[in-house]
Point group: C2
Chain length 129, copies 2
């Protein structure tokens, strides 16, 4: 028991479901009761509540019950955490692209220098793209 899912696991798998993504989108615009949230969906309430629960355990959504109505709101932290993951990956990816570009540029220069040394063999041999 207690399989210890990482926060990112939970956030991404919460967002993998279109219903839950729609709930998050709705909550970005402001808090709402379970009933209000459930209204647009053609789904039995207990099924819908499961989605809410998934969102809560993923940390994306917080809720509070007052009287008989439960009000849900977004907790932006989890969302930011996931966004951050993308940004870090992109940074790595872009750094690599930069290195690659530098490498290509270097190759190109060396080629040009080599071509300049022996003008008999023209540069257009075999297409340079």
């Amino acid at each position: 028991m207690a399989n210890q899912l990482s926060p990112l696991d939970q956030v991404f798998s919460a967002l993998a479901d279109p219903t839950r993504r729609a709930i998050v989108m709705r909550l970005c615009a402001g808090e709402a009761s379970v009933g209000e949230l459930a209204d647009p969906f053609d789904m039995a309430l207990p099924s819908f509540m499961k989605h809410i629960h998934v969102l809560e355990t993923s940390g994306l959504v917080l809720s509070e019950k007052s009287g008989r109505v439960r009000t849900c709101r977004l907790s932006p932290d989890a969302l930011l955490g996931a966004e951050d993951w993308f940004q870090r990956q992109r940074a790595i990816w872009e750094a690599r692209l930069d290195r690659f570009e530098a490498y290509v540029t270097k190759l190109k220069k060396e080629k040009e220098r080599a071509a300049a040394k022996r003008p008999s063999r023209t540069t257009k041999k075999k297409g340079s793209e």
Copy 2:
């Protein structure tokens, strides 16, 4: 059949698995063969291949086989698409916060104006936070 998963569904559920997230992270640093990718994982190859396949159908990863080795590389588009989703949600969220702040400011000003009109009742009644 053909359940028509949306691209975002597929990308997010692909990224919900720590093994697959690790593969994506690895591929951000540059392309690699299936064997190289599988090496750090204590998992049978066929199981590992399933992860690769999930990543491919989600559009996150591309692969090509030459000889008997299959080389995988990241397709940044799908990653950017998901990142974009976060950014759009955050924009909505932040716009709402701005509106909310404006509203609070307005309330505060009205309160001050009201307090100025009747100086007998002091502002400090019941704490203003």
